[in-house]
């Protein structure tokens, strides 16, 4: 009787499975565990995670790692996924020509036109000229109101811009009601004596005049040529509750299209496609190209640098002279990223066009033997590199109750989406596709403007709820949950994530519906696209209808909505598709590790 360990090193997680081999050659499964992969998949740095996972698994059955008599590593597919994001447009404000934001409490409503006049220069105002008064936060709301009320008889004041969050306080103290915009952080940048138009939307509405080029032209009396130049301003003010547009001679908002570069496909039917043309064109080119030998980017462009960086990373892994490193697949996804406008006065952002790219790098072989040697040295246990990843995954997937040959598996991991089909004769066809869980996280991160990958990962993983009172919350599916004890006030009024061990607070104020939509779109764009791409490649005759069963395995199959999305999509092809349940107990994880232990039993016979 001996303990056999199967170890699967993935892009994001390392999984182990421990089985007991009995005299009769049968395997009795005991325990499993998983740890985040240390270092890039296929490098000796992986041993830390392997040891940690083995220790964790053996700890669960009260044993030491020393008790293991054989460790079997997978011959990891020599492919590594990597992701990058490129913004295609950028918006630049020169000479502070606009402000548009959503302060929580602006005051008054309507629009006004006038010359900008700083409050300390009010005495220099001329009767008869309409003014927009700008007050920094060094003036209290009482002072601002008093000064404005005093000037009421002499000067024509049309509107107010405040630095502090005091619009309602000022308005309540004014004799005559005016539109007031507050929370303009860089009020010091407002040019004195320049014609400006301000607008505060009615409650529940957004600005109408200043988000319309002709509206701006009407208020600021622009000619046709000038109206053309304010169009990007109007566009970036859509959806705002308050806005200011200044008529500065040199002032402008430009929308730049960044030179993103071309992607070259070296394939059966070689082609090149410009990144500007968007994801759909790129994917069309990739699928038309047939079998791809290598993908590269135009030198000294964003995409060129990005692709060569990915290749370089792979080159460090396999530094044998005949390394033969190629990018064999890319998945491009269109996205919109809220980017801080350079030159903004109140932290305005603009939605810029961007393309997210996942690339699949292939080399001849990963240095798995080195990992095995190192592990052997450190643990004093026999370590073997055994079996091809996809075959092992299929073996493991077959332990799911209700499966039979022929079987297709879809392994949705962090870095790649792999598919394999095993025929009744045991023949395996497989493919690796770029783009999986990590690309989803990146899309969520950019589209919500989080600037925090960890938070994006959490959003990907957990359903949302909105805390509506200290005693109840509304789930994203509309269901209400009431609590016995009051919810921590830190969560009050916020959108939260329902993690296993409590709530996680969303720091940014983004509506729940928006987060749900971005999350679901990101998953659909990556996994539904890739599932079809991958299965089509491995299906007999490249026809999905020749597949009857699909078992979903890998970390992303654990997701709470991806399997359902795929099930819906495949329903039309009469395919039985579902989340795997390895050994009837493990869920979709641990397929490869289980396969490695099972294959040991096969070799003994």
């Amino acid at each position: 009787m001996s303990y056999i360990a199967g170890v699967d090193i993935g892009n994001s997680t390392t999984e182990v499975c421990i089985g007991e081999s009995t005299q009769g050659g049968t395997i009795h499964f005991l325990t499993s565990a998983s740890c985040p992969t240390t270092g890039t998949k296929g490098t000796v740095a992986n041993t830390h995670a392997i040891k940690a996972a083995l220790k964790q698994a053996m700890g669960r059955i009260g044993r030491d790692v020393d008790d293991i008599s054989l460790i079997r590593l997978n011959e990891a597919a020599p492919v590594i996924g990597d992701t990058a994001m490129e913004t295609l447009t950028e918006t630049i404000i020169t000479d502070s020509s606009m402000i548009g934001h959503n302060p929580s409490t602006p005051a008054g409503a309507g629009q006004a036109v006038g010359e900008i006049l700083l409050i300390e220069n009010l005495s220099r105002g001329v009767p008869g000229t309409p003014y927009i008064v700008a007050a920094p936060s060094s003036y209290s709301y009482e002072e601002v109101a008093a000064i404005l009320n005093q000037a009421e008889g002499t000067l024509d004041i049309a509107g107010v811009i405040l630095q502090a969050d005091e619009a309602v306080l000022v308005e309540n103290r004014l004799h005559r009601k005016l539109p007031i915009i507050d929370e303009v952080a860089r009020i010091d940048k407002l040019p004195d004596r320049v014609l400006a138009a301000i607008e505060v939307a009615l409650p529940g509405q957004t600005v109408r005049m200043l988000s319309n080029p002709y509206g701006i032209a009407t208020l600021l009396q622009l000619n046709a040529e000038e109206t053309r130049t304010v169009t990007p301003i109007a566009k970036s003010l859509i959806g705002k509750r308050s806005a200011v547009v200044l008529k500065t001679p040199g002032g402008n908002v430009r929308e730049n299209v960044l030179p993103a570069g071309e992607i070259y496909l070296d394939a059966e039917h070689s082609a090149s496609v410009n990144l500007d043309e968007g994801a759909e064109k790129i994917m069309q080119a990739v699928s038309d190209a047939g079998s791809i030998r290598d993908i590269s980017g135009q030198p000294n462009t964003n995409v060129g640098n990005m692709l060569s960086r990915i290749k370089q990373g792979m080159g460090e892994l396999d530094n044998t002279p005949d390394a033969d490193i190629h990018i064999t697949d890319v998945l491009a996804v269109d996205t919109l990223a809220p980017v801080l406008i350079s030159g903004a006065l109140a932290g305005e952002t603009c939605l810029e066009k961007a393309v997210g790219i996942a690339a699949m790098v292939k080399t001849r072989q990963l240095p798995m033997r080195e990992i095995a040697e190192k592990l052997k040295l450190e643990l004093g246990t026999d370590v073997k590199v055994a079996g091809v990843e996809a075959v092992m995954a299929s073996l493991g997937a077959l332990t799911t109750p209700g499966t039979q040959l022929p079987l297709a598996i879809l392994d949705m991991g962090g870095g790649s989406t792999d598919a394999a089909v095993i025929s009744e004769e045991g023949q395996v066809t497989m493919t690796h596709q770029a783009g999986a869980g990590e690309l989803v996280s990146m899309l969520i991160e950019t589209e919500l403007g989080l600037g925090d990958r960890h938070m994006a990962e959490q959003i990907k993983k957990y359903p949302l709820a909105k805390v509506e009172s200290l005693f109840h919350m509304r789930m994203e599916n509309g269901q209400m949950t009431f609590m016995e004890d009051s919810i921590d006030p830190r969560f009050y009024g916020r959108v939260i994530l329902l993690a296993e061990d409590g709530f996680i607070r969303m720091e940014k104020d983004i509506p729940m519906e928006k987060i749900v939509q971005v999350r679901r779109d990101a998953k659909r764009k990556v996994f539904v696209t890739n599932a079809f791409r991958a299965l089509k490649k491995v299906a007999p005759g490249h026809d999905l209808r020749n597949i009857s069963n699909v078992v979903l395995v890998g970390g992303s199959a654990e997701d709470f909505e991806i399997p359902e999305m795929l099930m819906e999509e495949f329903a039309g092809y009469r395919i039985v598709c579902g989340r795997g349940n390895i050994r009837g107990a493990e869920g979709p994880r641990n397929a490869v590790a289980t396969g490695l232990v099972l294959s040991y039993a096969g070799e003994q016979k």
Partner: protein, 109 residues
């Protein structure tokens, strides 16, 4: 029929006047009404808790001396949502705004 404006109650006992002004400004900026009442008790927890329970909106503030505390109906006495001793002007303003945001079901600042 007695018609009363739904308001946040501020129960005070000899409060610091400048921080009271800031608390009121915080509520006003959020556009909610408030009422100030002099009370006998000097317990900050009690002032805040009573104010929250007496307010039709379920949101109240207690102030005595240099202490301020914000409460909401349904929370047990002493478990104040937010409280300060010797608050600076911004803290008072924020506490006032939060008592109003509690009514508006918006996240606290």
């Amino acid at each position: 029929m007695i018609i009363k404006k739904p308001s946040i109650f501020i129960y005070v006992n000899n409060p610091d006047t400048s921080s009271l002004r800031n608390v009121c400004a915080g509520i006003e900026e959020e556009g909610v009404f408030y009422e100030i009442k002099e009370m006998e008790t000097i317990s900050l927890d009690e002032l805040a808790w009573n104010a929250a329970n007496d307010s039709m909106l379920g949101s109240g503030i207690g102030m005595t001396g240099n202490g301020i505390a914000m409460q909401m109906r349904g929370i047990s006495k002493g478990r104040n949502i937010e409280s300060y001793q010797n608050p600076d002007p911004m803290q008072s303003r924020k506490l006032g705004a939060n008592s109003a945001r509690a009514v508006k079901k918006l996240a606290f600042k």
